[in-house]
């Protein structure tokens, strides 16, 4: 009962929204699709739902083509990033709507709707219309509606992106619990947030510019990103990728001092490469080292992202805690050479640091 996407390709106005996307989606597992805005995530969901057409390729359900099956016969549920409910119906009626359309008897539909609302903790608000609910509550209704249907395919398109930080964390936790009971449903969940994708996904699909860049378990994706693009997408802040060369005992990276060649980089021929420097592997201080200029400071929760200019190269540093630095300050940079990634010049992963070190 799996869903198979076969070479889905879709062009709109000369731009590829989907470019030869092939995937196998298994029931009972949560597939998170990670990618930047415009990577093709939403397009993929819309094609799976039957809302958008493809130029070539097909979607198979249990080996049967869905190409001529219109959305209303696909048994697909969807949760949008905007909190979409029917404004003229109450929360309960909203959840019942798809059940009634599926010819579930009224009493049964009501029972299931109430159950779903209880699951998302909205029993007390079931008579309110969406207009009278907060954003988070509205999204809970939408999720309840999707869950109550027990559809064969459940699609969630960045469902948490429009919520504020705290609510997002909270709902993310709850989602894990809610998804644990999906049983025979194929769940596809898109997000731009690496943490969300890695935390929720049984399998992570990284998309980049309409293509599938890598598919794998969260650990595989994070520890061995197949390409520089994946490496950037699965890290927050994105991994720094800078041209460099292997020279005997050293790794030369533009702007930085010669670094010692760590053990996982042994066995590669000297020559030009792309060097991946994870933001946490960089540290700055006042001691000796290469001087860089701070161009921008971002404080994100308990961490600080510091953007620096290193003789023409832009780098991002992730530091724990709050640091008292400001734009224009000159700081010295140091790198942990054992945490470097190595990519060939065309962006394919050559070497990753040993597990457990990132």
């Amino acid at each position: 009962m799996s869903v198979v996407a076969q070479s889905l390709t879709s062009w709109v106005d000369g731009e590829a929204h989907l470019d030869d996307v092939t995937l196998t989606l298994e029931p009972g597992r949560i597939h998170t699709v990670l990618g930047r805005t415009g990577a093709g995530k939403t397009s993929l969901l819309r094609v799976l739902a039957g809302l958008s057409d493809v130029d070539s390729g097909d979607v198979l359900l249990d080996g049967r083509s869905l190409r001529e099956v219109p959305p209303w016969r696909r048994e697909t549920a969807m949760v949008y990033q905007q909190f979409i409910n029917y404004p003229h119906l109450t929360a309960l009626e909203n959840v019942m709507f798809p059940l009634r359309r599926a010819k579930v008897p009224a009493a049964e539909a009501q029972r299931r709707a109430k159950e779903a609302l209880e699951q998302v903790g909205l029993t007390h608000l079931s008579d309110r219309r969406p207009g009278a609910l907060s954003g988070g509550q509205q999204q809970r209704v939408a999720i309840a509606r999707a869950l109550a249907r027990r559809a064969r395919i459940l699609l969630l398109d960045e469902p948490l992106v429009n919520l504020d930080f705290k609510l997002r964390e909270q709902l993310r936790e709850e989602l894990r619990g809610l998804f644990s009971g999906v049983g025979e449903t194929v769940v596809v969940y898109t997000t731009t947030e690496p943490a969300e994708a890695l935390m929720l996904g049984d399998e992570v699909i990284v998309m980049h510019e309409g293509r599938v860049a890598q598919v794998g378990s969260p650990a595989v994706i994070f520890e061995t990103p197949a390409t520089t693009a994946v490496a950037r997408v699965v890290n927050d802040p994105p991994m720094n990728v800078i041209p460099g060369t292997l020279q005997g005992e050293h790794v030369a990276v533009r702007g930085l001092d010669l670094l010692p060649r760590a053990s996982h980089l042994a066995g590669f021929a000297d020559g030009p490469y792309l060097v991946g420097i994870p933001a946490p592997s960089l540290t700055f201080g006042t001691g000796p080292g290469v001087l860089a200029t701070i161009t921008f400071v971002e404080i994100s929760g308990s961490e600080t992202f510091v953007h620096v200019d290193l003789q023409g190269t832009e780098l991002v540093v992730r530091a724990e805690g709050i640091h008292d630095v400001s734009t224009g300050d000159r700081v010295s940079m140091t790198v942990d050479p054992s945490r470097l990634f190595l990519f060939t010049e065309d962006g394919t992963l050559a070497a990753a640091p040993p597990h457990g070190r990132s």
Binding site: A49, L51, P70, P71, W72, R73, R74, T76, A77, M78, Y80, Q82, I84, Y86, P87, H88, F97, P98, R101, A102, R145, R149
Partner: protein
């Protein structure tokens, strides 16, 4: 807010209210006059300056003078309601389609199709009326309500499409997509998910349709002979070589009543602030 904009605001409102009301006040006083109160010099105040008479009002409801506005009123009502209803149904369907799907007819895309609809309003009525005459003559629809309804639909459809396209554009398309995913065909999605949320837009469209339908004189006049008289025709038929200003005034006032109801309805939606994208 400083004070002068506030004052300017009140001044504007008062001046415009007076200006708007003036012709109505004049029509109201005139409707109680007779020929002697009209010729010679200008009079305003009943009893003081002229002897008021109910003659004009009696006349338009079938008094002497061969005028009776009740029949034409009913005709106008039937034609306006039917034509507006058809125009809104066809217009809403087309507007929904144009708002949700990509069309391509030859070189024309959605925007061009909307323009095609709206551009029909550019046609001067004179261009249309003679061809309409022949068009209705063939199936024998001249001088019938059905004939007028068909023609009126053509005049109203552009307005309905224009209002509704913008309105639907402002309803998130995810609502009807979701309805489709939940088992509705596009038609059911439209009827069950969109239409129930379109009351403001439909009301504005209905108002525009009713206004233009109700007030059409040009086509009604030229496509009927003796069997179907609409209200504007019947009022204009009072415009003889000695124009009976009083009857004309009474008739003009009488003709506004049904539309007042719509004005109040539209205002209600305005107050609630949910006309949002209804007219953009």
């Amino acid at each position: 807010m400083s004070r002068w904009p506030r004052r300017a605001q009140y001044l504007l409102l008062i001046v415009w209210a007076v200006f708007t009301a003036m012709p109505f006040l004049w029509a109201i006083t005139t409707s109680f006059k007779d020929v002697n109160a009209v010729q010679g010099h200008v009079t305003y105040v009943p009893w003081l300056e002229f002897e008021p008479t109910l003659e004009a009002w009696r006349q338009i409801f079938g008094g002497a003078g061969g005028v009776n506005l009740v029949g034409p009123f009913v005709n106008s009502l039937i034609i306006t309601v039917c034509a507006s209803a058809i125009a809104i149904v066809l217009g809403a369907l087309a507007a929904y389609g144009l708002s949700r799907f990509r069309y391509r007819i030859g070189p024309a895309k959605n925007k061009d199709i909307v323009f095609f609809f709206v551009s029909q309003r550019i046609m001067p009525p004179v261009v249309l009326v003679i061809p309409f005459f022949f068009l209705l003559q063939m199936p024998g629809l001249l001088d019938t309500r059905l004939g007028l309804i068909i023609v009126t639909v053509a005049l109203l459809l552009p307005i309905a499409v224009w209002v509704m396209v913008d309105f639907f554009d402002n309803i998130p398309r995810e609502i009807d997509e979701m309805a489709m995913l939940e088992g509705c065909t596009p038609m059911q999605a439209f009827l069950r998910a969109i239409v129930p949320n379109s009351a403001p837009g439909l009301t504005v469209a209905a108002m525009f349709c009713a206004v233009f339908g109700w007030n059409d004189f040009f086509f009604a006049f030229r496509l009927t002979f003796t069997q179907v008289q609409t209200l504007p025709q019947a009022v204009v038929a009072l415009n003889s070589s000695i124009p009976p200003w009083w009857t004309l005034s009474a008739a003009a006032l009488f003709g506004i009543i049904p539309l007042l109801v719509l004005a109040v309805l539209v205002e209600r939606y305005l107050s609630k602030g949910n006309l949002a994208g209804a007219v953009r």
